[in-house]
Amino acid sequence: MINNRRNFLKKSTGVIAGAGVVSSFISKYTTGLADASTEKVVSKKKIRWGMVIDMKKCVDGCVKCIDACHVKHNVPDFGNPKDEIKWIWKSDYAKVFPSKNQQYLAQETRDKPFLSLCNHCADPPCVKVCPTGATFQMDDGIVEMDFHRCIGCRFCMAACPYGSRSFNWRDPRPAIENITSEYPTRESGVVEKCNFCSERLAKGQQPACVETCPEKVLTFGNLYDKNSEIRKVLQENPTIQRKPELGTNPSVFYIT
């Protein structure tokens, strides 16, 4: 066949038309999927762990949940803010909700130290930036860390909008009061954060902070299960989330 202008136009028209038909089928199929679920699908296993923090119940000055978490996970205490490692901590309302600059907010709420921890976002920016896959998302929605793979580049710390990640500038072992062999420590040059107690969940236990809290401030459960306790709490109470405008879809909710 002679390769002239006429033949070229014939062939290319055919190819473009075929591609159009195929792509319309694909888009029809995928939009159908998107319509079917209004929720962001993270898990194939129908689990997305989440937490509700009822700040109305949280007692000022109580740090039992923080202690329990930090003891169970060998979190060091260096005693200075520069080296501080934190999995769960208390911070000012203005720092936890910087974009909620509501006028005439109740003074009581404004003054209360708010519990903060990793939000285990459905769309986690830390996972996107990690160059080694050390931070990744489990099937149950938990944003997990593989300390073995962390190279300490701290991209994730820059990406996290909630300051939930801490870097080990120094060997943490000397700064841990009672080291437990139930959980590894970290070494210097590794980033760490809350893991929603995935090691306890595997044994059918609640996260350490939830179990410890005497005031039942924390409700933990499966956000995908409509009959779960956490969904009931979310149904009954108006809740807010940290920096929702960023589209990270946090799994941690606050009752203020």
């Binding site: 296993k45 099937d139 149950d140 062999s181 959980y183 595997a202 059918g204």
Partner: protein
């Protein structure tokens, strides 16, 4: 002609010298003896396999636990143990010095397990058997976990020293 003889004689002497340790099967006199003082009566895999490939097994365990959340290993007799260096391996082979360090020092291998993992003070054997259903406690949580892991009663966990109250 003389050159050829010299060359081949030299080559054969060289080859003999190089291969000497193989055909003489020279064995070091101070080869370390691995302590076999164990608490349990079975290992997670046959001993011969473990001697050669324990590092591969540990790497596989690490990846499956951390990345896939598969935390239990099926023993040869069908029972289940936690995939854990500190709890299962050292729970049975109680002396880390004998069990790990003897050979690693001899072979000049320096694994960095213990820079993060903590040597247990007292080895706790964590065989998990007799799986029961406790419907009164943490019902929601346990139901959700059924798909992933089998559930254990609180009593069992307590008796095995897995649950700290």
């Amino acid at each position: 002609m003389n050159e050829k003889v010299l060359i081949f004689a030299g080559l054969s002497i060289f080859l003999l010298g190089v291969t000497f340790p193989f055909w003489q099967s020279v064995e070091p006199e101070d080869f370390p003896k691995v302590a076999m003082e164990t608490k349990g009566d079975q290992c997670v895999a046959p001993a011969a396999y473990m001697r050669k490939n324990h590092m591969l097994l540990l790497n596989t365990w690490r990846d499956s636990v951390v990345r896939d959340g598969e935390r239990f290993h099926i023993m040869p007799d069908g029972s289940r143990v936690e995939k854990s260096l500190t709890k299962t391996c050292l729970g049975c082979h109680v002396s880390k010095k004998q069990f790990c360090e003897e050979c690693h020092t001899y072979a000049s291998v320096k694994p960095y397990c213990w820079e993060c993992h903590v040597v247990p003070k007292s080895g706790g054997h964590t065989e998990l058997s007799g799986i029961e259903t406790d419907e009164t406690k943490q019902k929601e949580l346990l139901n959700n976990l059924l798909a992933k892991n089998q559930q254990f009663s609180d009593e069992n966990l307590q008796s095995l020293g897995l649950k700290n109250d």
